[in-house]
Point group: C3
Chain length 271, copies 3
């Protein structure tokens, strides 16, 4: 990517995804323009969004965009002449994270087909979950358990789409019941602000918290994934167990995004 | 510019000019230190301005500076050993924007000599206008109309200087009267804060707003320029007409600043 | 350093040290990830510090870290796989500044052994002082005067350590008394917030302020060092005298940090 410029338009604050794209660009020899939420705020005073995208498009060769609003990346792609990568748009999707998740499963188990996968937590609003489930429809996992408190279960349109595409899903509120079957447990945070009643939140949080004790009746081969950052949904004591695969998963973020940038820009060589 | 470092000292927030200089530096193979208003604020707590410039001068090979205060760039150039480029100083000047404007006219019409040019809006405080008018004195346009409400007409010292240098200017408050003659219409924003009375502002704003209807009696060849960002002084419907040349103008920002950086640093080759 | 990435984790705001490391990295052909206090704040909302360091470690080849808290760099070095450089941790140490100070003395006088050195100001809390004194124990200066108001004299544990290592120190509250002997005067700021009584602060501040008059009975060869930024502890009129060596000292910041980065990464060649 020598000579290439990537515009990192992070209209919603981010650290992990942004630094990961920046590191990937650097590793390939490219440079970055960082357009953060602060600059976005100052532009928001008047200039329309389309003109801002046109500006970034002029000054770079590819835009990586994150935003609080659903559909932002798609709209940017309609305006820009250069490629646009969605780095998360509101509650909608986070496709590059899903690619990392799928790649991690592939690296850990040699295949995604045949796995029993549990996705746990805020299935309603976590965009990484939606993108992961869409991604999984391209493979043949044996079973996908959707584990969440009722309040945070998968949105109907996502559920309908993945079942229509033949993904073998099953909804449950009980982690303990399905845990012994799982090869992969994908954990996301349950956010306090989803619960009007703090006591209710505390109860739910504790029910889904991953500790060494909870993992007592898991398979030896179980691997836990998490998009990070994690707060307290996983006990730090789990970090030291062989179950924890989230630091490995994070490690594959940069090489995967390097591959993606190369493909999108066409700067790779066939081997 | 491989091995060169440009310090981007944007003491006044900016996006377009800053990213344009950053992109230009990258395209030439150089790197950037970004010193924004935030860092400036923290230094302002005590360190004197001269010491700050000395620091940036030590860490880079060229300083691009923008500031709210007139004369900042000139003072920086007196302190620094390396070259300094003025990227806008208060209400005073914005010379690199004027170079882009002149280059755009040259590219659109093949020459600046002989053109009939209207400059519209806040002629009193818009630094791009002042720099453009000074730049135009180096050429032989047929006529330059200064179009603005009386309150925002050109400052006397600027008017005196350009007429003394022989620029054929004429002041008017009526866009409609001169529009049919114009080859180029250069639009700037009329800022609300200039008007103590909001009703007065609304009236003036509407009088000078560019819409497809207003352009009804313009020449076919008329081209509209704007330094961007634009807010509502130009109806977005104009964007789609052949009159709109401001996106092309923006496109020439990076190559022009590449040329400028190369010349100032002496890193170009004679063809 | 082509292909290398340095993470600049400035959890405490900084300009001089940060830009100096960034410039050093660029001069060697490397690239930087800037992780400032703003990003740190957003992470602080929940993610633990260890996970943040792990993230930066994954995305870069070396972490330069500054923090308000003592021991941060050491803890980071325990977690990270890649090298960590301490760019200042609370009131504890600032070792790269001390290296610049020592190198400056060496360049100015040809040797550190035999010099009479005065360190002036806030000896209790200035981390540059502590690191400089530890550094001086590796050499044989003739005498080191510790000049400060009683309230801001050296902490006992530092005093004990350097005297145990044989550094010939002497404490004094009077600059005038020792000034005629000095080859080097190292000045740091006395911060207002150390004094509950503003009147007391004013008195102390004026007692230790360096002016051309104060320097009347100094040796011709005296050179004044300061880690910068300076506020009003040195009269700007001193800048123009041959005593002022602080701008030279600042100039050596980038090459010294270039040498340090090369050594730590092992990217240098033996001459």
């Amino acid at each position: 990517m020598r000579g290439y410029i990537v515009a990192l338009a992070f209209l919603e604050p981010s650290t992990r995804t942004m630094y990961s794209f920046q590191s990937a660009t650097y590793r390939l020899g490219g440079k970055t323009l960082v357009f953060s939420s602060k600059e976005a705020t100052s532009l928001a005073k008047g200039e329309n969004y389309a003109d801002t995208i046109r500006m970034l498009d002029l000054y770079s060769d590819l835009i990586v965009i994150r935003s609080r609003h659903e559909g932002t990346a798609k709209y940017a792609a309609e305006i820009a002449e250069n490629p646009v990568i969605n780095a998360g748009d509101g509650r909608h999707e986070h496709p590059t994270q899903a690619m990392i998740d799928l790649y991690t499963m592939y690296r850990l188990f040699g295949a995604i087909d045949g796995l029993v996968i549990g996705v746990l937590g805020d299935l309603k609003y976590a965009r990484t979950i939606t993108s992961l489930l869409y991604g999984l429809t391209r493979f043949k996992p044996k079973k996908v358990y959707l584990i969440s408190p009722g309040l945070l279960s998968l949105r109907k349109e996502v559920y309908d789409k993945i079942t229509e595409l033949g993904l073998p899903v099953e909804e449950t509120t009980s982690l303990q019941e399905v845990l012994p079957e799982l090869d992969v447990l994908y954990v996301t945070r349950i956010q306090k602000e989803r619960y009007p009643d703090p006591l209710e939140y505390e109860k739910v949080k504790n029910l889904y918290r991953i500790t060494p004790e909870v993992l007592g009746n898991a398979k030896k081969e179980l691997r836990i994934l998490h998009p990070l950052p994690k707060i307290d949904e996983i006990d730090p004591a789990v970090d030291e167990t062989p179950y924890a695969a989230y630091f490995k998963q994070a490690r594959w973020g940069v090489p995967l995004r390097m591959a993606l940038l190369s493909l999108v820009l066409g700067v790779y060589e066939e081997v």
